[in-house]
């Protein structure tokens, strides 16, 4: 990147390092950090929406819908989440291909599962065999996002379901006494008040989501873990002008520090949001805030 980098062998340690850290592959490594932030930015709102939907379904008075919501919440208990990740990525992929297969090739007679193979007609392949590399990568990333959102949606549903039940009953009864319909009570009284109860759980979930992002590696994404392993491995002078020993330890140390900063920073921000939401609530936190202002 820099002009003095033409002959790395002659450089002093510091300038060697500046050259080494600005090679093309290192920019792929830095770009993968953006992928982490990207998946956080996409997954968090989607998971929240899934969670809200799940909680609404679990509260529903229609029995099958309530079962579905409760089942969705319950399924995340008791099973390691990494198993979900590994499961959903294949299951979703096969599910999509199967659906396309049903629509696109109705005349196909061979069974789809042949022994150890999963065969759909060529037109139903996702992405198509002829698609460019970018499409394959985007598809893999999209699958990863849906998987994350499904798993974390279930966690969020559990938190939101609990928060909805924590809203004081008297508030809802008052709303009813004022003649609000159940729908109005839900949207105008329950939902605005539930956030303060949901936030501790949701902020915990956000921290967990940050810490789950390295699992992208297991879903076949070229993420930070992938690049740290690639770049850190021993490089001989044959293949690169920057030979070095096994530096994977230092790359993972850098990742460790990156994640520590992420969790530390978001904790600071979430504390602020919590203070904002507590204002004027009938909770001990709100009461303490009110007295603090009055004094």
């Amino acid at each position: 990147m820099f002009s003095y980098c033409t002959d790395p062998d002659t450089l002093a340690t510091l300038s060697w390092l500046t050259c080494y850290l600005t090679t093309g592959v290192h920019f792929s490594f830095y770009y993968s950090f953006l992928k982490v932030l990207g998946i956080l930015a996409v997954t968090a709102p989607v998971a929240l929406a899934f969670g809200f939907g799940g909680a609404m379904a679990a509260r529903s008075s229609i029995l099958p819908l309530s079962w579905f919501g409760k089942g969705y919440i319950a399924i995340v208990r008791g099973v390691p989440d990494i198993a979900f990740f590994l499961f959903f990525v294949i299951a979703l992929d096969q599910g999509f291909e199967w659906m396309r297969h049903q629509v696109l090739c109705p005349d196909w007679t061979d069974p789809i599962r042949q022994g150890n193979d999963f065969l759909v007609c060529p037109q139903a392949k996702l992405p198509l065999g002829s698609a460019p590399q970018v499409v394959h990568q985007t598809y893999a990333f999209g699958l990863a996002v849906i998987t994350f959102a499904l798993v974390f949606g279930a966690f969020a549903a559990n938190v939101i379901f609990g928060a909805m039940r924590a809203v004081p009953k008297a508030q809802l009864e008052t709303a009813e006494a004022y003649g609000m319909s159940p729908r109005q009570t839900f949207w105008r009284v329950l939902v605005p008040q539930m956030w303060v109860f949901a936030l501790p759980g949701l902020s915990n979930l956000w921290q967990v989501l940050i810490k789950a992002t390295p699992l992208l590696f297991l879903l076949g994404i070229e993420d930070v873990v992938y690049w740290a392993r690639e770049l850190g491995g021993t490089k001989t002078a044959q293949f690169t002008s920057y030979p070095h020993g096994d530096w994977r330890m230092w790359y993972f140390f850098a990742l460790l520090v990156f994640y520590l900063f992420m969790t530390w920073g978001s904790e600071k921000i979430l504390t602020r949001i919590m203070a904002g939401l507590t204002r004027g609530q009938a909770t001990s936190g709100g009461e303490a805030q009110r007295k603090g202002v009055a004094a």
Binding site: V79, P80, N204, K211, A212, T213, V225, M249, L256, T263
Partner: protein, 268 residues
């Protein structure tokens, strides 16, 4: 081949006893159940060992975090922050490569690059940090009256801790600690996906489940089997910790006892 034969061949495959070669094709349900079950040996080993050793370190760190002396408090706070603030997955990778580099210099470290010791150390430190935070919270919420009563009886120092503070701390922390235990057992599935090699294909339950899923390209059989095993394990943990919980609360009237409340288990 009968199912009994399969169990004999593969029941202890995860620890290297029995048939050497894994089945390669025409997987029966029995083979999947047996091998994944045999992998559970490792999950139980990691979980139990890390919990038993981590408990003591966690207590020490929780007490240190509650002290006024900054020389003890700060390191405890940093330890907890380091292990709770970063992903366990990255911790595994870092530890593995750290041990690998150390092994190059000092041969003493060569067993540390194997999962049974290296991963166990990471899990031990990790669960110690998470449990220490739980115990610290419990220490903070010990009723003032109990400590004052201990003072009034002339108890102090170690005796006061052992007879009054520690039992109450454990009682208050127990429901949260149960969740931590469940959570830890789930975290053990990460071990063989994070650098630590499964020597001679001796892996844990998830290792075998993903082996079958890769070979058959059918995730709908091995992962539900794995899920079933883990739900069973979770139920066993809940029952075991529930017994301890009843024992810890035996002096309370029945309606004042704390029930174990289960929370969803998240990735760390």
């Amino acid at each position: 081949m009968s199912c009994l034969q399969t169990i004999q061949d593969y029941g202890l495959r995860a620890i290297g006893i029995g048939e050497r070669l894994l089945p390669r094709s025409d997987f029966t349900l029995c083979e999947q159940f047996t091998l994944i079950g045999s992998g559970m040996i490792w999950n139980v080993y990691f979980g139990v060992m890390a919990l038993c050793t981590g408990f003591f370190l966690a207590t020490a760190i929780a007490v240190a975090k509650g002290l006024a002396n900054p020389w003890l408090r700060k390191p405890a706070e940093w330890f907890i922050f380091l292990f709770r603030g970063s992903p366990l997955f990255i911790q595994f990778f870092f530890a593995y490569f750290l041990f690998l580099s150390l092994k190059g210099v000092y041969p003493f470290f060569s067993p540390f690059t194997a999962a049974w010791l290296g991963a166990l150390i990471v899990l031990f430190l990790n669960t110690a940090a998470y449990s220490a935070q739980i115990f610290y919270g419990a220490l903070q919420s010990i009723p003032k009256g109990e400590v004052e009563a201990a003072d009034a009886y002339g108890l102090s120092g170690w005796l006061r801790f052992r007879r009054v503070v520690f039992p109450t701390m454990l009682r208050l922390a127990w429901p949260a600690y149960t969740n931590e235990a469940i959570f830890l057992f789930h975290a053990t599935t990460l071990v063989y996906f994070s650098g630590f090699p499964a020597w001679q294909q001796r892996g844990d339950a998830l290792y075998y489940a993903s082996y079958f899923a890769d070979k058959t390209f059918n995730p709908f059989v091995p992962y539900p089997i794995l899920a079933m095993y883990f739900i069973l394990l979770t139920l066993v943990i809940i029952a075991g910790f529930g017994l301890v919980n009843t024992h810890l609360n035996r002096h309370l009237p029945a309606n004042a006892r704390q029930k174990l409340r289960l929370r969803p288990n998240l990735i760390r």
